[in-house]
């Protein structure tokens, strides 16, 4: 184990964490404010990736691809919210789980109809194709861009939610929707706006992931489940919790996968370590979540009301 390898894994973990933050921020907005569980968030991530890859292939312009991915998922999110979820806000979570599960099936099949079963690939934009030298480690510039954009979006979200009027309304709606509505705010429109913003964040995450993973039907589900783990670990409903939770889960997952099998080989006999290493590594974040919940049921950074 060299220092460079370790640094690379830390950066990878950080980059995964930032991507997870974009996804879980959207989920948090929807869950924390509308108390609505949206499993189709991963499908919006997938839609963002597909739109980006397609537009980039046609135009070779990353800017146009970004525009298509973000506005496309924004509109898709609006449509989903108006057509399905708006009817289910007052209902039990069970029905929201079901409806969004149905949407996942539909979107996955729609992706197969339009783009086929085979994965498609997107190139890294030429401007970010190189590597950046960091203490003797050549690390891809594109992954640095992901980290930078993720942190910038995180900062922007923080400012919007805590420093603007619309953010104030969003926070107030999270605490007491009926009261905000009584004060003359169109809560339905606010909900639609928040949902669309969450969808656009998922689309942004999809756009940025497209060049580093293969774009294929069903690609949204694994990341959705990771994002849910982030939400639980960080504390449901708080953007801050989503941010720290995402970084922790990203780091634990990446570093665990990279080093746990190695560490186990040092301690256990080879055959056992070879069997247990990957198994424990892929379960690590779920174990983390279970431990966190057993100790702090509200998550690591529970939302503070008032």
């Amino acid at each position: 184990m060299t220092g460079a390898l370790f640094l690379a894994q830390i950066l990878n973990g950080f980059q995964l964490g930032v991507l997870l933050f974009l996804l879980s921020a959207g989920l948090t907005l929807v869950l924390g404010i509308m108390h609505c569980i949206n499993l189709a968030h991963g499908s919006l991530f997938m839609a963002g990736a597909y739109l980006a890859a397609t537009v980039f292939e046609r135009t070779q312009s990353f800017m146009l691809a970004a525009l298509a991915a973000v506005t496309g998922t924004l509109l898709l999110g609006l449509a989903v919210e108006r057509m399905v979820l708006a009817k289910l806000y007052a209902r039990d979570h069970l029905y929201q789980v079901l409806a969004t599960f149905g949407i996942i099936l539909f979107f996955n099949e729609a992706a197969r109809v339009f783009w086929g079963q085979a994965p498609i690939f997107m190139n890294v934009p030429p401007a970010l194709d190189g590597t950046i030298d960091l203490f003797g480690l050549a690390y891809p510039a594109y992954r640095f861009a992901i980290i930078a954009i993720g942190l910038a979006v995180g900062l922007l979200l923080y400012v919007v939610i805590h420093r603007t009027r619309i953010g104030m309304l969003i926070r107030a709606g999270a605490s007491d929707a009926a009261m905000v509505s009584a004060l003359g705010v169109n809560i339905g429109r606010l909900n639609a706006l928040v949902f669309a913003a969450g969808a656009a964040l998922a689309g942004l995450a999809g756009l940025m992931s497209a060049p580093i993973i293969s774009v294929q039907p069903g690609m949204g589900e694994p990341v959705l489940i990771l994002a849910l783990v982030v939400l639980i670990t960080g504390g449901i409903g708080s953007i801050r919790g989503a941010f720290y939770g995402a970084l922790i889960v990203g780091a634990v997952d990446t570093v665990g996968r990279a080093f746990l099998p190695m560490a186990l080989r040092e301690m256990l006999e080879t055959s056992l370590a070879q069997a247990a290493g990957p198994a424990i590594a892929s379960m690590l974040i779920y174990l983390l979540m279970a431990v966190v919940l057993a100790v702090r049921p509200a998550g690591l950074f529970p939302v503070r009301h008032g």
């Binding site: 569980i37 289910l88 039990d92 789980v97 599960f101 149905g102 099936l105 979107f107 892929s282 379960m283």
Partner: protein
């Protein structure tokens, strides 16, 4: 079941008791029809020369069993578990792992599966039941994923590809190597489970559980150990799914991590809602209706123009997705629920 210091419950006020009695009448007619129809399937299939239907309906009944178990926590306990496929998987892997090591005895399979299921369900339940609502949904999902990844990494037992059983479980004189015998075994287990669940939900325990669903704080104030009741219900419901898993492994002669994929948990929930949450027979109706729908759509031959049939056969999952959305929005009481004219459901 030990229930210390539990006040007596006055079960239902008179008008509701009368309505409930009317419903029970309908329920028994339904059960009788179902009993006859399901009992006659192997005969009808052999007359029609379509042995395929025997395994198809076996599969339906196995999923009905799992949905029945899930409904115990979702419908009566108000706990939306999104990870019950995990218990299907535990049942299946108990059969698979023991068979791999040369243990073919079915009774050992069932005992081991139930023991493992009880252990896991108790541990998972203890953690999960600390939270409620959305958090409960997600943490049950996460535990199921954890086990899914464990199964994928078990390279000895096939890992991702699964493991084909050398033979079905050996239940002595009950030779389930024969498809019809297996069918009747599944049938008997389903009927027994239905009977058991009906007794449980109408017992004091079941009433208290429903009370916890509608107002847990009140039940605690009345002196009921709500937490323990929920845990017992959770473990019981898991064990029903474990049994379904044992049967599923035997039906397919195959064990695979895909049995505990999170989408299977979702499908089980759909079956419950499709049929009617919190009704005794709803999950059975829902499972059958769901799998019939799957079968019909995936082998569509309804004569649509412009290659519509072929398109549907290829992309039936998309249409199924739309059906799920429509069910979630419009069919609050489910197929059986609205059939039974059940306007009010316990705890809502």
């Amino acid at each position: 079941m030990a229930e210390p210091n539990i006040p007596t419950l006055n079960v239902l006020p008179a008008p509701r008791r009368a309505r409930a009695a009317g419903m029970q009448g309908k329920r028994w007619v339904f059960v009788a029809v179902m009993f006859v129809v399901l009992g006659a399937v192997p005969l009808a299939a052999s007359l029609a020369g379509e042995s395929f239907y025997v395994s198809l309906v076996s599969r339906m009944m196995i999923y009905a069993l799992a949905a029945l178990g899930l409904n115990l926590v979702v419908g009566y306990g108000g706990l939306v578990s999104f990870g019950h496929a995990m218990y299907l998987g535990i049942g299946a892997y108990a059969v698979g792992i023991l068979s791999y090591h040369g243990v073919g005895n079915g009774y050992v399979h069932v005992a081991a599966a139930l023991a493992a299921g009880a252990l896991v369900a108790t541990l998972v339940g203890l953690v999960c039941l600390r939270v409620s609502g959305v958090a409960f949904i997600m943490i049950t999902l996460a535990f199921a994923q954890m086990l899914y990844f464990l199964a994928v990494s078990l390279k000895t037992y096939g890992g991702d590809d699964g493991y084909a059983l050398p033979a079905r479980s050996d239940f002595g004189f009950i030779d389930i190597g024969n498809a019809t015998v297996l069918y009747y075994l599944v049938f008997a287990v389903l009927m027994l489970a239905l009977f058991a669940v009906s007794r449980v939900v109408d017992s004091r325990f079941g009433m208290a559980l429903r009370g916890c669903k509608s107002n847990e704080r009140r039940m605690r104030a009345l002196g009921f150990p709500a937490q323990r009741f929920k845990l017992i219900a959770y473990v019981a419901s898991a064990l029903v799914c474990v049994l379904a898993g044992v049967l599923l492994a035997n039906l397919t002669s195959f064990v695979s991590p895909s049995y505990m994929q999170w989408s299977v948990s979702g499908e089980l929930l759909i079956m419950v809602v499709f049929g009617g949450v919190g009704t005794l027979l709803g999950p059975v109706v829902g499972a059958v209706a769901w799998l019939v729908l799957e079968e019909l759509l995936s082998s569509a031959a309804i004569g649509l123009p412009w290659g519509g049939d072929e398109f549907l056969r290829e992309h039936w999952l998309g249409l199924l997705g739309i059906v799920v959305v429509l069910v979630a929005i419009n069919l609050k009481d489910g197929l059986y629920g609205s059939l039974a004219g059940r306007k009010e459901r316990e705890g809502t």
